[in-house]
């Protein structure tokens, strides 16, 4: 089986994560390739979300969470105290399960990130950033005439694309998606999947999903997690057509439980 021979964007080595005394991830060694979509599948509570939250150090906000091991982004270690998480999160953006736009206008939602990072020198530049982000998220045409309306006035699917645009506004290199479509209807889901297809040309994407069909559709590489361990990781075609491990097969064919 041939893996895409592209450069590795994120590399974890011996990654162990604990919530207090309970261990959530056991010795995870996973490579994420650049400008590719990697899907993480597995039953609930198996550690997929915990894993991706390590990549942008979101687990830092949980007091009892301890992250041990190496996580490298472009070869640079990010799991150490001296790393500036603010800069890291500029590079690694995140989209959450339930759309969470700020209770501000659509414009302000997108402009917030660039504002606090001081990216735009003047209003024109900011307008440009907002427009580009919304275009990249396939939302511009739908909202260009109502940028001053609150972000929460949009439909669920539009709100999620707004959150994607917000993540894109700070020009990240990696986008982490934690079940981005689980709260959306099929049409909105299809639009997001189309968006992911497009985004992977420029960004590295890691997506956690409960939908096997979605993982097959959008990803090039898939990792199967179970009880905090990686059972199998390989090209998506291999995993879903002819996996090596019985546990993987049982899970994806619905023989689990």
């Amino acid at each position: 089986m041939e893996l895409n021979n592209s450069k590795i964007k994120i590399k974890t080595k011996n990654l162990n994560v604990y919530y207090g005394a309970k261990q959530a991830l056991f010795d995870i060694n996973l490579d994420i390739n650049q400008k590719e979509v990697t899907a993480l599948i597995g039953p609930s509570g198996c550690g997929k979300s915990t894993f991706i939250r390590c990549i942008n150090r979101m687990n830092d906000v949980i007091d009892i969470c301890k992250v041990e091991g190496s996580i490298q982004l472009d070869g640079n270690e990010i799991n150490e105290k001296k790393v500036d998480v603010v800069t890291l999160r500029e590079k690694v953006g995140m989209v959450f399960q339930k759309p969470n736009p700020f209770p501000k206008s659509i414009y302000e939602n997108i402009a917030y990130g660039p504002t606090i990072h001081g990216v735009a020198e003047n209003k024109d530049k900011m307008d440009e950033i907002v427009e580009n982000s919304l275009k990249k998220a396939a939302l511009w045409e739908e909202v260009k005439d109502r940028l001053n309306e609150p972000g929460t006035s949009l439909s669920g699917g539009q709100q999620q694309r707004l959150c994607i645009a917000r993540a894109l506004s700070v020009s990240p290199e990696v986008i982490l998606m934690d079940e981005p479509c689980s709260a959306l209807d099929p049409i909105a889901t299809a639009k997001i999947e189309e968006l992911i297809d497009d985004l992977k040309k420029s960004y590295t994407i890691v997506i956690v999903t409960h939908s096997m069909a979605q993982a097959v559709r959008v990803s090039q590489k898939t990792g199967f997690f179970h009880l905090g361990k990686i059972i199998e990781v390989d090209s998506t075609e291999k995993i879903f057509k002819n996996p090596d491990k019985k546990m993987t097969q049982d899970y994806i064919t619905g023989r689990f439980g």
Binding site: G93, F96, N100, F102, P103, I116, H117, A167, V170
Partner: protein, 420 residues
């Protein structure tokens, strides 16, 4: 019991419960209505005062003016003689005792009322002009129907002679009621008809401003720190318990604190809104911290995560996103806390705001009373005229509280609309 019987029993119980609720609400409403009716019936008359129309002869010779008639010379002149001369003309009096009784029909300020009239209308000099002069407290109350006329004379405040004059004046149509602007513009006075809440109003105003200026920022900062930044350990738990306890401390204790520290040790000026403001801010602090913390807690974690994921620091997340969303609850809590502070009496009495202050304070370090203290002071007075003033002051207080609560509701709705 069959199923139908059980169902019927349940429905009956529910109906009973609804009735209990309705009865409770009705009882509460009735109590409120009785209270309001009582106060309003007693207090509404305070908003008018009785005036007696008198033909005043602005005889310049009685003024002892030196040179030409100017504003300045009028202001310097003595109007007593002119006033008395005109007032005594309203009814024949046969001796000084009766003259005194005639003069006592009027409020002691008659001299200044006449003076003010001429200063406003200097062209009336050397003319005889009808001027309305405030009646005395006794006549005022008599006119409002608060004095029983059928008591024997020695038990009455108004003599038969004075009654005759009054009846005469009524017949001549010279007794009138006018809107009582004195109630708002004047400070405290020994004479009820001249007493107003001007002083205590300003006193309360300064007190609340100082209380707000001190307690609001400290409470907000403390809440934000405790809720967002403080490590979750036993020390912060201890602080939280104590803040909750502080909210339950009786307000008079804060008065003792004010007395002991601010007045005795730090020797701040007594009876001033400054001291009152500081004392009340101590009391209001926990009352703002508690709703503020609750509002901060109520902000959903998804907003914090969204901000963090875009690269906001903890500080930026809290101040750009969490605090604005916590504002509706915080503001509601603040205004309610301030409304409570507005109505506080016991601690202010302890720090000396019971002084009899005539002048309206112009700065927070001028001695003054506050509205609720004024109510207390007036309720202790003997004169009948103070009864209506007391009730009217209570009406004003209630009015302010209602307005403040409306502001709280409005602000809350306005912020919540943004949130949604």
């Amino acid at each position: 019991m069959t199923k139908e019987e059980r169902l019927k029993k349940r429905y009956r119980a529910e109906k009973r419960f609804q009735m209990y609720g309705l009865i409770s609400v009705s009882c509460a409403l009735i109590f409120v209505l009785i209270l309001v009716q009582n106060i309003f019936s007693k207090g509404s008359s305070a908003f008018s005062r009785t005036m007696i129309e008198v033909q005043v002869n602005f005889d310049s010779s009685l003024l002892g003016l030196d040179g030409p008639v100017t504003q300045k010379s009028l202001k310097d002149a003595e109007f007593y003689d002119l006033a008395v001369e005109s007032l005594l003309k309203i009814y024949p009096s046969k001796d000084t005792k009766e003259e005194r009784q005639v003069l006592r029909l009027f409020s002691p300020d008659y001299e200044y009322e006449i003076k003010d009239y001429l200063i406003k209308n200097p062209n009336k000099i050397d003319q005889i002009v009808p001027v309305k002069i405030t009646a005395s407290d006794d006549i005022d109350q008599l006119n409002k129907g608060n004095f029983p006329r059928d008591l024997p004379e020695d038990r009455r405040r108004v003599s038969n002679y004075q009654l005759n004059i009054y009846d005469n004046l009524v017949e001549e149509g010279k007794i009138d009621k006018k809107f009582n602007n004195y109630f708002f513009s004047k400070g405290d006075s020994r004479d009820p008809e001249l007493a107003g809440i001007g002083g205590s109003l300003m006193g309360s105003f300064f007190t609340i401003i100082i209380c707000l200026a001190l307690s609001f920022p400290i409470a907000i900062m403390a809440s934000i720190y405790l809720e967002e930044f403080a490590p979750k350990n036993k020390i912060t738990d201890f602080i939280e318990i104590n803040i909750n306890n502080l909210a339950a401390v009786p307000s008079i204790v804060y008065g003792l604190l004010g007395l002991g520290i601010l007045l005795s040790v730090m020797e701040f000026p007594r009876s001033t809104p400054l001291v009152a403001g500081i004392t009340l801010s101590l009391m209001t602090l926990p009352r703002i911290i508690i709703p503020c913390r609750a509002s901060l807690k109520a902000v959903p974690p998804s907003i914090r995560e969204a901000a963090l994921s875009v690269g906001a620091s903890k500080f930026q997340t809290v101040f750009h996103h969490v605090v604005p969303l916590a504002m509706p609850g915080t503001l509601s809590g603040t205004i309610i806390g301030l409304a409570q502070a507005l109505g506080e009496t016991a601690p202010l009495i302890l720090i000396g705001m019971v002084a009899f202050v005539v002048d309206i304070p112009s700065t927070p370090v001028d001695p003054s009373a506050s509205l609720p203290v004024q109510v207390y002071l007036w309720s202790e007075q003997a004169e009948r005229g103070f009864v209506e003033k007391t009730s009217a002051t209570i009406m004003m207080l209630l009015g302010f509280l209602i307005v403040m609560n409306f502001i709280a509701v409005y602000l809350r709705q306005k912020f919540e609309k943004k949130w949604n």
